[in-house]
């Protein structure tokens, strides 16, 4: 009997391992699906449905949110949305440990079943190529007055491109966003700035000196832990945020175009081979060997990183605010206000201009789209249209009237101090209230106003100033500036660019693959370069550059330049 069981196991065993990656192949046997939506069949459907779905009857849509952290639809804002539109969302989000939507999207494509609405971040190309999205152009024309109003002239930018004028996604990014705050290129604890009599570093050299001086004076935190100079999160995709991007911001003083640098003639080059970046990584390498850069930065997980930064042990970071904000909140909650971080315009050399405030226009390429699995695209577009309406925007950004915000005598919305404080210090604030909890929803940007002069978001110039914590108020006073952003080169000092941020554009698969290969080489190589001995720096750097060139760097540069050329808007 045992032998039989064993042979059974064995037979299974032989076949089992072979099936990785091709588990579902129903496609071979299913007859051609008639449901593959073309724009034409969609518009027919639109007309057919036009008469019937002009109601707010309860309907449930599924929504996949690639930036989601929870699936909560039981909060005041969500309830109000349901009340106004009849729509209940069943939200799902990436479950993989890395937060990558790739796997989920691949599964959706394999099963040919999609959520009704999806915000897929960088995986939108896959969905597009699989024919998952429906073209929203006609729907917007017919049912989307508010969507048209919101995007205005920038509606053009939402078109897919590559010879396809369809609109498949709205944008996740704020429309008409003004940079009222900035995280700059590098961040340092307020305690350090304060101790330096509010002299802040603007070059890498000064940055280094500031950190070293502070470490020398304060080797340990008040509770006895060792202070850390700089730390990073480099063991998953966050390497791009803390290691890759700052290199471009600081060394090349470039705006955020992902892994690419764009010169005045719109030539695109892969950034990690520029001579400035070499200097930057040489600096990091030295910092690592001198013990200023956290010796564990390469192996710690992102959770470790967040915990470390939240503990107030880390003097300086090179990060993005959306990533370290939870740390700031935790620090405030622990009463360590002076350990929160101040964004700085650090660049490599004095003659460079920190591009943090450069306005890149509406980011397109990432956004919410309706899929062919959607039972009722008209209701879906109406739902999105409602979100774009002033009412929807107020609700999603400000919360419920008379609960989260109030209207003053001048008709202007305001929040109580208590509410403001809660929004800044409660890590679960958006989950529990629903405000800003469903990334991917179309939104107006910070600092934008409605036609009646009502601010769409709680962050206006006034509110931002009002929300400054004690440290920030003191800094403004010491620097003699109105806002913290005033220490940065201002937006009007830069030429207006005829293209959006390159990283957000959806790129064709071949191009994306070229970039993937380059990143795949750059990531471990850069970490190796930083953690290597100083004597090995030159050879390590050369090894990486050679490998990048051997794996299609030049082709990728050319292809990316050609791709960008197709995106440039003539003004």
């Amino acid at each position: 009997m045992k032998k039989r069981i064993l042979s059974c196991i064995l037979a299974g065993f032989m076949v089992l391992g072979t099936l990785s990656g091709c588990g579902s192949n129903g496609s071979g046997s299913t007859p051609e699906t008639g449901s593959t939506s073309t724009p034409a069949s969609n518009s027919q459907q639109v007309e057919a449905d036009a008469g019937t779905s002009d109601d707010n009857s309860p309907i449930t849509f599924t929504y996949y949110n690639a930036d989601g952290k929870n699936s909560n639809w039981d909060n005041p804002v969500a309830k109000a949305i349901t009340e106004a539109t009849g729509v209940t969302l069943e939200v799902s989000y990436p479950v993989s440990s890395t937060g990558e939507p790739k796997e989920d999207v691949a599964l959706m494509i394999a099963s040919d079943e999609f959520p009704d609405m999806i915000y897929a971040k960088g995986s939108a190309t896959d969905l597009y190529e699989a024919g998952a999205y429906i073209d929203m152009t006609d729907l917007i024309e017919q049912y989307g007055p508010n969507i048209k109003k919101m995007y205005g002239d920038e509606l053009e930018k939402l078109k897919w491109g590559e010879g396809d004028d369809g609109i498949y996604q709205l944008s996740y990014a704020g429309v008409g966003e003004k940079d009222l705050t900035t995280d700059g290129t590098a961040q340092i604890q307020w305690a350090v700035i304060k101790e330096n009599n509010y002299e802040y570093p603007t070059t890498l050299e000064e940055f280094e000196k500031t950190i070293k001086d502070y470490l020398a004076k304060h080797p340990k935190t008040p509770d006895g832990q060792d202070m850390i100079g700089i730390t990073m999160s480099a063991s998953d995709w966050h390497w791009m945020i803390t290691l890759g991007n700052p290199a471009g911001f600081i060394a090349d003083a470039a705006p955020d175009n992902g892994q690419w640098l764009i010169d005045d003639k719109y030539n695109v080059t892969y950034k990690h081979v520029s001579p400035e970046e070499k200097e930057y990584f040489k600096w990091l390498n030295r910092m690592y060997n001198e013990g200023i850069l956290d010796p564990n930065f390469a192996t710690q997980t992102d959770d470790d990183y967040i915990a470390k930064v939240s503990s107030g042990r880390v003097v300086a970071i090179t990060d993005a605010d959306w990533h370290y904000n939870p740390c700031n909140r935790a620090l405030i909650q622990d009463g360590k206000m002076e350990c929160t971080y101040c964004g700085l315009p650090v660049v490599l050399r004095k003659d460079q201009k920190c591009a943090s405030l450069l306005y890149q226009g509406l980011k397109v390429g990432w956004g919410i789209g309706i899929t062919k699995s959607c039972k009722d695209p008209v209701r879906a577009i109406k739902f999105l249209d409602w979100l774009c309406s002033d009412e929807g925007q107020m609700l999603y950004n400000w919360g419920v009237k008379d609960v989260h915000y109030f209207i003053d005598d001048n008709g202007q919305p305001y929040r109580t101090d208590e509410e403001v404080k809660k929004s800044q210090s409660d890590p679960d604030y958006s989950k529990n209230t629903g405000m800003g909890n469903y990334t991917g929803f179309p939104i107006y940007g910070r600092g934008s106003y409605s036609a009646e002069g009502i601010p769409y978001t709680p962050s206006t110039k006034e509110s931002v100033k009002k929300d400054y914590n004690e440290e920030e108020v003191a800094a403004c006073k010491a620097w003699g500036v109105d806002m913290l952003t005033d220490i940065f080169p201002q937006a009007d000092e830069f030429k207006l660019l005829p293209y959006s941020a390159l990283w957000a554009y959806q790129k064709p698969q071949e191009l994306a693959n070229m970039e993937n290969i380059l990143n795949e080489i750059a990531w471990p190589s850069l970490v190796k370069i930083v953690t290597g001995s100083e004597a090995d720096f030159e050879s390590n750097w050369k090894a990486m550059v050679d490998e990048l060139y051997a794996n299609g760097l030049e082709d990728a540069n050319k292809a990316m330049t050609a791709f960008l050329a197709g995106k440039i808007i003539d003004k």
């Binding site: 045992k2 099936l19 990656g21 051609e32 440990s97 494509i109 190529e129 699989a130 693959n513």
Partner: protein, 311 residues
């Protein structure tokens, strides 16, 4: 597999009469044969993807409308810059794993088997196979707390040992160590049950003849479980290339990735990561083909050494 197996190797000729005689047995096996065909053989149809150019855009097309590229995907996989290193890693970590894993499991089983105090034995056994049921995500985060730079071990020796951040084959051993810790109790179960089948009379006779404990282990226990060891070894050699992806991914970091990349992960990276499903499938097919070849070779070798062949 146990000692109850008849020594004689008389072969029953297949005839209608024997078929009729065993009709109940046959009937009982039919559901499993159907299960096998539906779940194990029909999906093999998906292998056609390995010979096609399958991207998200063509995924849902009927199979004959996709472009056939012959062995293009295989060539692409073999020419990939990661391929050679991936093969070396897969075989390396797998062989070390089989050797150390088998040794530890047998050792552990013997230790348990020699235990006189029954309740303690049972408790130990239960505790030892519990980690088998814990997912790799949890094991990996525990392991990282222990082995990572600045982790428990580093603190203990007050020295940075770089156990998980040295870009060398050291990481293979670290991974294997964690794997052994997780699986040793579970793997020992089958050896333990084989030991339970050994005739107690043999031990009594040996004791009377003056054999001490180690001699009894060496001359009775080990030969008694030899067929089991051989069968399990053959099976694990057949699965040598199926190194679990999640384990490798979760215990990896960019510093050591060069030495942790294994075939299944590579297939995932290229197949799902780059949305090139054809290429991913081709790597999977290659993995299976090598796996079956290894299995047949191991089986043959076992036969040459006069052991029972598995197939």
């Amino acid at each position: 597999m146990s000692s109850k197996k008849p020594k004689s190797k008389t072969k029953t000729r297949l005839s209608l009469k024997t078929l009729w005689k065993q009709r109940y047995l046959l009937a009982m096996s039919i559901p499993f044969v159907i299960w096998l065909i539906i779940f194990k053989y029909i999906p093999l149809w998906g292998w056609t993807m390995a010979f096609q150019d399958v991207k998200p855009s063509t995924f849902n097309k009927p199979i004959f409308q996709r472009q056939f590229v012959g062995f293009g995907n295989f060539v692409k996989a073999f020419k990939d810059r990661l391929f050679t290193q991936t093969m070396i890693n897969t075989l390396g970590v797998s062989i070390i794993g089989i050797a150390i894993g088998t040794f530890c499991a047998i050792l552990f089983a013997i230790l348990l088997n020699e235990m006189k105090f029954l309740r303690f034995k049972k408790t130990t056994q239960t505790i030892s196979y519990l980690p088998h049921f814990v997912s790799w995500v949890i094991i990996a985060s525990i392991a990282k707390n222990v082995f990572n730079d600045g982790g428990v071990i580093d603190t203990l020796f007050n020295k940075n040992l770089h156990l998980m951040s040295t870009n060398s084959i050291l990481i293979w051993f670290v991974i294997v160590f964690i794997d052994v810790w997780k699986e040793v109790g579970w793997n020992a179960i089958i050896y333990l049950s084989a030991m339970a089948g050994i005739d107690p009379g043999l031990y009594e006779a040996a004791e009377i003849d003056g054999a001490n404990r180690f001699q009894r282990i060496w001359h009775i226990t080990l030969p008694g479980i030899r067929p089991t060891i051989i069968v399990l070894l053959i099976m694990s050699i057949g699965g040598a290339l199926n190194v679990g992806m999640e384990r490798q991914m979760l215990l990896s970091n960019p510093l050591v990735e060069q030495h942790t990349m294994v075939l299944s992960w590579f297939s995932y990276k290229r197949g799902i990561g780059n949305s090139d499903y054809g290429l991913g499938t081709a790597i999977g097919v290659f993995q299976s083909a090598v796996g079956i070849t290894l299995l047949l070779i191991a089986n043959k070798i076992a036969g040459l050494f006069g052991e029972d062949k598995l197939i």
